[in-house]
Amino acid sequence: MPRKLPPKDVVIIGLGWTGSILGYELAKAGLDVVAIERGPWRDTATDFPPGYSQDELRYAVRLDLFLRPDQETLTFRNNMNQTALPIRNFVSFLPGNGVGGAGVHWNGQTWRFLPTDFRLRTHLEQRYGKDALPADMTIQDWPLSYDEIEPFYDRFEKLCGTSGKAGNIKGVKQSGGNPFEGWRSSEYPTPPLKQGLGATLFAEAARKTGHTPFPQPASNMSEAYTNPLGMKLGQCTYCGFCERFGCGNYSKASPQTCVLPALLRFPNFTAQTESEVTRINLDSTGKRATGVTYVDTSGEEWEQPANIVLVCAYALFNVRLMLLSGIGKPYDAQTGQGVVGRNYAYQTTSSVAVILKDKILNPFIATGAHGMIVDDYNGDNFDHAGLGFVGGGYMGMGQTNGRPISTRPVPSGTPKWGARWKKATSETYNRAMSLSTHASSYSYKDCYLDLDPSYRDRLGRPLMRMTFDFHENELKMSAFLTERLAEIAKALDPVELTKNPRKGPYTLNAYQTTHNTGGTVMGGDPANSVLNRYCQSWDVHNVFIPGGASVFPQNHGYNPTDTVGALAYWTADAIKDRYLRNPGPLM
């Protein structure tokens, strides 16, 4: 029997971006809040000091800050005819671990989705006809509009101090920004970061080829910034140890730099680390959660009763916790019935590698999210008629590092070792760069998450099983985007250009992105969603998944964090302003 603890108003499962934001908003509203985090406590001064943060082997290769698969992993297969096998080491995507979650080691790319992304199916069917979409594509409209979420994007960007240049303020186009973006209520909190030579050359080439490049929105500080919580962030030093690393300069927005010091001042907030929630407990009706059960490091089980349960783990693990807790009907891919695990999606990335003549690019002078971007081929920013696919993505030059264990390109045809490899490595390092595309991944009937029938975790619970492959629509899109990017890259007059469009099948063997989405989708209809428009469970009204990317109905052509943060604030307001007054289903 688990030991029972005194009840709390709110229990938060996982203390990353969404857990920190909800914790702050609800503690500020006077509620008694406990956040239970399975990983360790982490903060800048102790865990990311600039004396040894810049260690490529430890953090980027041995993945020191990430989740260890022996604590939790998934099984994977490309299709329903295969036997899923466990992901024994994470490579293709890297879930976070510990306080701050993936918010510690993200790059800082801070993108909003397009207004049309929020009514995707309706928009595409209106513009191209119902027959334009593949029969097994299960994309759906979001249950809220861009206009509704805009103030919450604005709030999260101000929390982060995001740097950038607006392209559209209240409907008025702004030169220098993204001409395709949805309207913004205000300019970015801080001006754009400085650009290196590679991004500058890319922007020139993009302009020459008729595109409109603009600086990538980045939650890496271009200048010192104080956020609305009073947290002070320092100017980014372009150290080139950003993604996969904690920032030792307080320059990258993270729960550590933006929320936690303010949150921990509330006497009615407690964080408890190294404690893994194993299930959400339901009362005898199954319609109300009574709290959670967790295990501590000694293996002892504890029950934490609470009036509200907020599921704030990484997207994939939100889905698993719902499946293990029996909340919502599990998705059955054979029948298409059920919702939990449905509409798992990813991201479709590709690249064009170029080697320039006589240039000194200094790729090590870098930050996670600077760079120059072209958005002409994202979402439905371009006419898809006759192209044979829907969706799109942004493309550009965003060199994030020159760390040489991983980043040391050589011309094609170079041997992988020996004297010729050494010579080529030496001669190419400073004049090569990789341009990339970052594109949508729409959802399909046969891409989903469920519980694995064979493999179990260290506590004896079934692992979650991922069934996923790229579909023809995404592969055609990637080929198209990669060609457009190569056209821009040719204007750089490279001595070598290599196109790497995304090709199937999806493989675990190379890093792509940690943008795993869907599985606990928010929507307007309980038949095709787990959560209503306030990220509240349709079935158990005091369980919310406040904005983790598991709530995305499909994935769009942008990085997910800005939308995750915006939905966290959106849900926090719904709980404070509506749910607390009248606990029950919000609609």
């Binding site: 406590w41 040894y52 490529e56 430890r58 022996d70 400085k194 150290c239 200094n362 070792w417 064979s454």
Partner: protein, 248 residues
């Protein structure tokens, strides 16, 4: 045991420390944080520098083979030292003797089954076990193919021939996939050549000097806008620069 509740007062007293929650006879371990940001001396985890000295994982025969191999994978030339002088064998030795060698943190539960190539690595063997087995098989192959010689006694052309055959899979090793073992060896050799010198390889920052990487520097604000200029400062390690540290 009675289902008693843990006392909240006890938890507050133990703010920001690893707390022991007492409940009946049970002792729970978890860290409780409340009332402000914690700071405790001695909780940071800096890397432990590798020191020269006896092999920690390799036998002397294995070490001789590895040192010869890393020196062909990264040969010495006018651009700088090779893999052996740069410490790549020491790096691999210390990595295999540590958590990496034991596959620490990886999901190692059975059943192990060969999967599709898209499903990632599926062997029950740790990196340490793969080296032990791969080196034994490689030494055996060289003995029989080169009339009893060891790899380190072959001339460099013969060594390259063996490594090329391993890489392409044209050389079959006993109980070992030669190409997989080669890929692991190459990966670890290059890690050693380009990782911070604190881990035993990249001696005198040879790998970083080869490409012009400034190492563990942490501030380029004055240089980000200076395009097409060679960065002027030499590389530094987490431990500083060689001339800053006491000579052994």
């Amino acid at each position: 045991m009675k289902p008693a509740a843990a006392t909240p007062s006890r938890r507050v007293l133990l703010t920001s420390a690893t707390a022991f929650l007492f409940s009946g006879t049970a002792v729970a371990r978890a860290r409780i944080l409340n009332g402000g940001m914690p700071w405790e001396a001695g909780t940071a985890t800096p890397p432990v520098p590798v020191r020269p000295g006896p092999w920690m994982f390799f036998t002397s025969d294995e070490a001789a083979l590895i040192e010869a191999a890393v020196d062909r994978l990264i040969p010495a030339d006018e651009r700088g030292p090779g893999g052996k002088e740069a410490g790549c064998a020491v790096f691999i030795d210390r990595q295999l003797a540590g958590p990496y060698g034991g596959a620490a943190g990886l999901y190692m539960r059975p059943p192990f089954m060969p999967g599709a190539s898209t499903q990632g690595y599926q062997s029950p063997d740790t990196p340490a076990a793969r080296y032990r087995q791969g080196l034994k098989a490689l030494a055996g192959y060289v003995r029989s193919a080169f009339s009893g010689k060891s790899f380190s006694n072959l001339d460099t052309a013969q060594q390259d021939e063996v490594l090329t055959g391993l890489e392409s899979g044209s050389i079959a090793l006993k109980d070992t996939k030669g190409a997989d073992f080669f890929a692991l060896l190459l990966q670890n050799t290059q890690e050693g050549f380009f990782a911070d010198p604190i881990y035993g390889g990249n001696r005198d920052m040879a790998g970083w000097k080869l490409v012009g990487f400034p190492g563990a520097r942490y501030d380029y604000r004055d240089w980000v806008g200076r395009h097409n200029e060679v960065y002027p400062l030499p590389p530094v390690s987490i431990m500083g620069r060689a001339e800053w540290t006491a000579k052994e």
